[in-house]
């Protein structure tokens, strides 16, 4: 009951100085709003990255033909074809490697009826789907016998399906690629964006041999562009990388001291780096936003100090008629707390609206979690108590006679 009365006193005092209370609150509103918004954006970025990483497939290497440097001239990986399907096969025999997929991609137009869509057509083996952890949502993927017979079958990514077939099921239909008919045997589950922002679903797969012999006449028969390999486990990746390099050097008869004619990239490590960068970025966003929260808190303290000084006489009168120290302390502390809590409530609402706008208008991925809301409120309450306590105690410790005599 006593607490309720003091709460009323605090509210009355705030009501008597509405503009000042509102301006003090504004500091908290901006602080909490910034924290909520920045955390939503940071966590959104993190969620996007981890989704991209998950969709990539785990424990992944990509081996590109061509060295990163060649005779002092830097060349892009994959520019000079040096890898063969038999290299891929040999890699698959390594104990650390779970699956391996030779890849021979090229762009081509896929036509169905009056629709056409240009996409990256990947010549590969059935293991590709294992390496990428990629499963069909309808139909199936091709088999080794399809590869052996260079069958004219094709598996479509979701973007291709959407552009050629709309909502129809493509399985069993015939599409044309470079004037050859291909039977659609499967449609893949959607994977979304890759780490570098490409649409992973904008692709189609055909058997490696079909791509090499029938679609993209190969000037270097048997050559492939790159090999994807999946290690048995995360822990095995360093050893697998070592073995890979040794194996390929031996197969390509590269003498010690000579440069590799291929490039091995640990995609999983690259992805972890990207995830780490995003996490750092997100923490930094939060930290920057927290500074405004701190500034808001200092604003509360500043105003409360002014208020205590200004109301010294009032405090003196209250003490003279029997207010105890805790009564005065609580009244001022409550004022600070109300300002910070109401401010944070409004700030959180504004932060949510901002996050929603960023998502709907800005097309950003944002994630608002319960923990970020709780964090905002805990911090706001802590700020209120922390920055309100000193001025409140200053008021409570006033000697009645001195407070009454003030000016």
């Amino acid at each position: 009951m006593m607490f309720g009365s003091l709460l009323e006193e605090a509210l009355q005092a705030m009501g008597a100085n509405r503009l000042r209370s509102a301006l003090t609150m504004l500091g908290m509103i901006i602080g909490v709003g910034a924290v909520v918004l920045m955390m939503a954006i940071g966590q959104g970025a993190q969620a996007m990255v981890s989704e991209a990483i998950a969709s990539m497939g785990s424990n992944l290497f990509i081996i590109l033909s061509g060295s990163s440097t060649s005779g002092g001239v830097r060349m892009g990986g994959g520019t000079v074809p040096t890898l063969t399907a038999t290299d891929a096969h040999a890699i698959g025999e390594l104990p650390e490697i779970a699956a391996v997929a030779p890849s021979y991609p090229n762009n081509a137009q896929v036509i169905f009826g009056s629709n056409n869509w240009t996409t990256a057509i990947m010549g590969t083996t059935p293991e590709y789907f294992e390496v990428r952890d990629w499963h069909p949502v309808s139909g199936t993927v091709f088999t080794d016998s399809d590869v052996r017979s260079a069958a004219r079958v094709i598996v479509l990514g979701q973007t291709v399906v959407r552009n050629l077939f709309g909502s129809e099921d493509p399985v069993g239909k015939t599409v044309r690629v470079k004037n050859s008919p291909f039977v659609v045997i499967g449609a893949l589950e959607p994977k979304g964006q890759s780490l570098d922002g490409r649409d992973q679903d904008d692709t189609a797969m055909v058997p490696l041999t079909t791509a090499q012999r029938q679609l993209f006449g190969n000037p270097f028969p048997g050559m492939i562009r790159f090999i994807m390999a999946k290690a048995r486990s995360r822990e095995m990746m360093p050893r697998a990388e070592q073995s890979l390099i040794e194996l390929l050097r031996a197969r390509h008869r590269i003498r010690p001291g000579q440069e590799d004619d291929f490039t091995v990239r640990n995609l999983t490590a690259l992805a972890q780096t990207a995830a780490g960068t995003t996490r750092t970025l997100s923490v930094m966003l939060g930290a920057i936003a927290s500074v405004s929260l701190l500034v808001g808190g200092i604003g509360i303290m500043n105003i409360m100090l002014v208020s205590v000084t200004e109301r010294t006489r009032e405090i003196g009168i209250r003490l003279a008629i029997g207010a105890r120290r805790q009564d005065v302390l609580l009244q001022f502390l409550l004022e600070a707390l109300i300002i910070s809590l109401v401010g944070s409530l409004i700030g959180a609402a504004i932060g949510f609206v901002g996050a929603w706008l960023a998502a709907v208008v800005g097309g950003m991925t944002v994630v608002v979690t319960l923990s970020s809301i709780l964090l905002a409120f805990t911090v706001a309450a802590a700020v209120g108590i922390f920055f309100g306590f000193y001025p409140a105690r200053k008021a409570a410790e006033l000697r009645p006679i001195e407070a009454l005599r003030y000016q």
Partner: protein
Amino acid sequence: MPSPLIEVVDLVKSYPVGDSGTLEILHRLNFTIDAGEFVAIMGPSGSGKSTLMNILGCLDIPSGGRYVLNGTDTARLDPDQLAALRNRTIGFVFQGFNLLPRKTVEDNVALPLLYAGVSREEREARALELLRQVGLGHRVGHKPPQLSGGQQQRVAIARALANSPPLILADEPTGNLDTHTSEDIMALFERLNRDQGLTIVLVTHEPDVARHAQRLIHVVDGHIAEDGPTKTILGRAHA
């Protein structure tokens, strides 16, 4: 023999001046006031009357000696116990009223009850009753700045009476009021003393105001120069 309401023994008050020196304002005062007395304190400006009243009101603490209020040695009390004493045992009326200007008259009067932990309904009822008692029942919702000086002092007196304390201390309660209004206020004090048996100690410069009291303490330069029945002392001064 019942113990007196106020007992002052060798009371000293000094203020620090400069870096190390002190200035003694009240010099070893000794007096007692019994419950039900109406005492006026007079004396030249700067003689230490307000200093004494602030100590009696537990707003300030003595530098030496003892102040026993209602059987309790105030030196032994912590600030919160002193606050409780100010809340329940003492009603203080100031020369400058000391009302909270933003609060209504009713809320001002009810404030000591709030700190006594009285419920809202009881507070409102009691405040209304007190305001009627001082003749301001029709001004409940006004704020102090909207009232005349005399009316404000009535509000302050109602506030002093809120927790029914046995002791009312008033430091020049009529100092800011004209003669006619002063008479009204003094009549109110006299009635409270006569009808409710309240002990009243008030400081004044006006012999006409002091004449309402039965006893007069004359303070000069921090000493008690005279202490006796008002009629005797004032009668002699006029002669």
